[in-house]
């Protein structure tokens, strides 16, 4: 685990201090114990040596007395005797410090010599008292005394040399210990430095690794890899920086994702809009929209779907993709409120269903239904709901809020488009069809009549026109009202539709006038049709009709529609003139 910089630094410092302290404590204990042992030996020897030097001083003082006595400066030998006694006392004190038998034996030897010196001193003194100070015996005793003193001093030198040698050895030992302790301290210092270097290395590492990671991360993210995250576990400033950096990258990724989504949405909306705008025909429009949406690679839809158009309380399937006949049968009489689509038509709210078999509201399930989910979009016009678009989803497919919102927009666009297409269709129908009777109006007839005349002339076929007018219709209207009049007109139109073959064209020519064009019919054929109509009207309604027939004779050329219509109208007029409820044929030679 990577440590934070501050923790690593503190731990490092503590570690170095502990190493130095432990090392110093260890070497201090070692050195102090060793030196204490050797020092006690040295102190003992130095103490002994001090006493030995005292002994030497005393002996030298005794020698001075001997000198003074031999030179007559003093008259008694007692001061020398006293000093020798003091030397012996000093040596007895040294004995207490001595452990080795050899040294004890040496001290005993010196003490013995001191006693001999005392005896020699008094013999010498006795010789002097007897007046032999300068005589041979006096000089002999003096020489003996001096030689005893010198011998004692020689013995002393031997003893001191031995102690000095011993002391030197011990001092060398102290030197060795000191040297060792110096090496030890050097080692500790070196260890501490090494430790400091190692700890420093780790501190730098703990600092540099996160920085390197951060640098790498910035490079990756700068190169566009917004999914890359800097992995730094430390809690220090660098960790915080990395966290902030990751959050920034996350935000960037999110913004980028939003931008991509928005761009995609714009594209989708653009495509759909363009499809919508390409067609004013409702069927074509809906088919285009459905195909575009279903084929869109960014959508998760199955290749099925459709659009219901709402008409009052009912809904009819205006367009669909991939449905079976059974499905179409099952949805033939849909009403607002039925199944999921009906529900959307009722509420106007977008609806998502994850599984058709689990969703209780999904009530219409044909036998061949396979598992699926739905997104059902209300198609909103400018003022009302015009339809419902349903799309198929795989089971349990999640639908994002984003997608829902987008489909709300699509729903509105398609809704407006549906509304426009419907209005257009209505407008076209208003132009070409008589709204009351559902028959084509005179413009359609006039547009096509010349074409039919040309075809008939070219192929040498017959063509007849029947102009029909309701008798006393004004009077009927006045009597029964316009509404009943209109119903009468509808009834007459229905009779005509029923009696005229499919190739025939019936148009409302104006008011209560109707014009029938019968391709390939000569005046006889036309008369039969006219008569059937006249009889049927007379029979089925409260009024009668008058009819005028004009026919294009075989081989006749150069006839124009207006001529033929005029002829038929003229024949009708004659029929009116001749008493109504009858048929007149125009025999006029148009040449």
């Amino acid at each position: 685990m990577a440590l934070s910089f501050r923790t690593a630094l503190n731990l490092g410092l503590v570690f170095i201090i502990v190493v130095i302290f432990m090392g110093s404590a260890f070497s201090y204990i070692f050195v102090s114990r060793s030196t204490a042992r050797v020092s006690s030996i040295i102190n003992l020897n130095e103490s002994k040596l001090g006493s030995w030097y005292d002994v030497a001083e005393i002996i030298y003082a005794a020698k001075d007395v001997l000198y003074d006595f031999s030179h007559g400066n003093v008259d008694v030998i007692a001061p020398m005797d006293l000093l020798i006694n003091k030397a012996i006392k000093e040596m007895r004190a040294i004995e207490d410090l001595v452990a080795s038998p050899e040294e004890l034996a040496r001290i005993e030897e010196i003490i013995e010599e001191c006693r001999v010196l005392q005896v020699v001193g008094y013999v010498y003194q006795s010789e002097v008292r007897q007046g032999y100070r300068g005589g041979s015996s006096g000089l002999e005793m003096e020489a003996m005394a001096v030689s005893r003193v010198n011998y004692i001093l020689q013995l002393w030198r031997n003893a001191v040399t031995e102690i000095n040698d011993n002391l030197l050895d011990k001092k060398k030992e102290v030197f060795r210990i000191t040297d060792f302790s110096k090496r030890m301290l050097g080692f500790i210092l070196l260890s501490a430095i090494l430790t400091a270097i190692i700890v420093g290395f780790f501190i730098v590492r703990s600092l540099s690794i996160p920085i390197e990671k951060l640098a790498k991360g910035t490079q990756r993210i700068a190169n566009g890899d917004l999914n890359y995250r800097v992995e730094i576990e430390v809690k220090d400033e660098i960790g915080q920086l990395a966290n902030s950096f990751n959050k920034m990258a996350e935000e960037l990724a999110k913004v980028q994702n939003d931008l991509v989504t928005a761009n995609e949405e714009t594209t989708i909306l653009y495509i759909i809009s363009s499809k919508i705008n390409r067609s004013i025909d409702l069927d074509e429009l809906l088919r285009n929209v459905l195909e575009t949406i279903i084929e869109m690679p960014s959508f998760p839809f199955l290749k099925k779907g459709g659009v219901f158009i709402i008409k009052g309380d009912t809904m009819y399937l205006a367009s669909h993709l991939g449905h079976s006949a059974e499905f179409l049968e099952a949805h033939n009489n849909m009403r607002v409120g039925d199944c999921l689509c009906g529900l959307v038509a009722k509420t106007g709210e977008i609806l998502v269903s994850s599984d058709c078999f689990e969703d209780e509201l999904h009530t219409i399930l044909p036998n061949d239904t396979e598992p699926h989910g739905h997104i059902i979009v209300p198609l909103k016009g400018s003022h009302r709901l015009v339809g419902v678009m349903y799309l198929y989803l795989p089971v349990n497919q999640e639908v994002s809020d984003h997608l829902k919102k987008m489909f709300e927009i699509i729903g509105s666009q398609v809704g407006i488009a549906v509304e426009n297409a419907t209005s257009y269709k209505d407008a076209v129908e208003l132009t070409l069809v008589d709204p009351l009777t559902g028959l084509q109006n005179r413009r359609v007839m006039l547009a096509n009549l010349d074409k039919y005349i040309v075809l008939a002339e070219r192929h040498g076929r017959s063509l007849s026109l029947i102009m029909m007018d309701l008798d006393h219709f004004k009077k009927f209207n006045d009597t029964h009202g316009h509404q009943v009049g209109d119903q009468l007109l509808i009834q007459v139109a229905e009779i005509m539709k029923k009696l005229v073959r499919k190739s025939g064209h019936i148009v409302r020519y104006g008011g209560e006038e109707f014009l029938l064009m019968l391709p390939e019919a000569d005046w006889k054929g036309a008369f039969q049709v006219a008569e059937r109509i006249r009889i049927a009207v007379e029979k089925e309604t409260e009024i009668t009709i008058s009819l005028g027939i004009a026919s294009l004779q075989k081989g006749e050329k150069g006839v124009v529609s207006q001529d033929l219509i005029k002829d038929a109208d003229t024949a009708l007029y004659r029929a009116k003139q001749l008493g109504r409820n009858r048929i007149e044929i125009a025999w006029k030679d148009r040449t």
């Binding site: 003082a61 008694v76 003091k86 008094y122």
Partner: protein, 311 residues
Amino acid sequence: MNRKSGFYQDFKVVIFILAISIAALWQTAAAQGNNTGDFQKPQKFVIGIQPEKNIYEQRKAYKAIAQYIAKYLDINVYIYTLPNYTSLFEAFSEGIIDAAFLGSFSYVLTRDEFPIDLLVRPVWPDDTSTYRGYIFARKDSGIRSVADMKGKSLVLVDMATSAGYLYPLYYLKKNGINSLNSHFSDIYFAGSHDGSAWAVFKAEADVGACKDRIFNSLAAEFPQFEEQMVVLAESFGLPSNGLGVRSDLDRGFKERLRDLLLDIDKSEEGRQALKPLGAVRFIPTGDADYRALYRMIDHLQLNPDILRDNN
């Protein structure tokens, strides 16, 4: 306050304290330097000591005091052991010594010839700063009075000592003996007080004289001595060996030396320096303290010049 700035704050405080401490130490050192500059120090200072006891013990007794003076007056101090009592005058006059712990009679003998200023003298554990002269014999000699001394041998210390010469002369004269030579068979000089006492103990002489302090220290050291010796007479108190210095020394230095020794017992180090001498402190002393001695000399009608010449 963040951590970093706290550290620098502490660092600044430590530096400030260090600076103050160094300045204070500097001041103290400078002040001490000034203190030693208000008198003229001699290049070296040599103290003579007389052979009151054997040379070895005398040197041992005064060594610590010499070291103490050297340390606190920051001068080199040496001890010069005088070969005998009467070599004192020569040592002073030849410039060998600058001071000496003087026996009382030695002072009197030297004073008229060489100007000496007495500074201090020691006080002993019994709170006296004097000594007495003893006259003694072995118990088994049977000598108990001056009369018993007749025909016996006498051991003295040196003619320049009060206890070892002047007092026995005075005592015997008071007891009717005007001539030593006629009363005693032999008269010996031991050269030191302990030598005199030990000579009687070892029966080299029958009667002896020396300082009470030396006699008593031998008694304490050697039980047989105490058992076998008897003190026959003791003198009145005489001033202990005081420190006298050449009069021509720098006055400031003399005052410093006197003050140092008068205060020596104030510190443990000083008390330790006094121990080998057997003293507890020093007190001021001067010529007036020697009046009794002058009277004794007058009574004996001694001619100091003769004594000086004899040595």
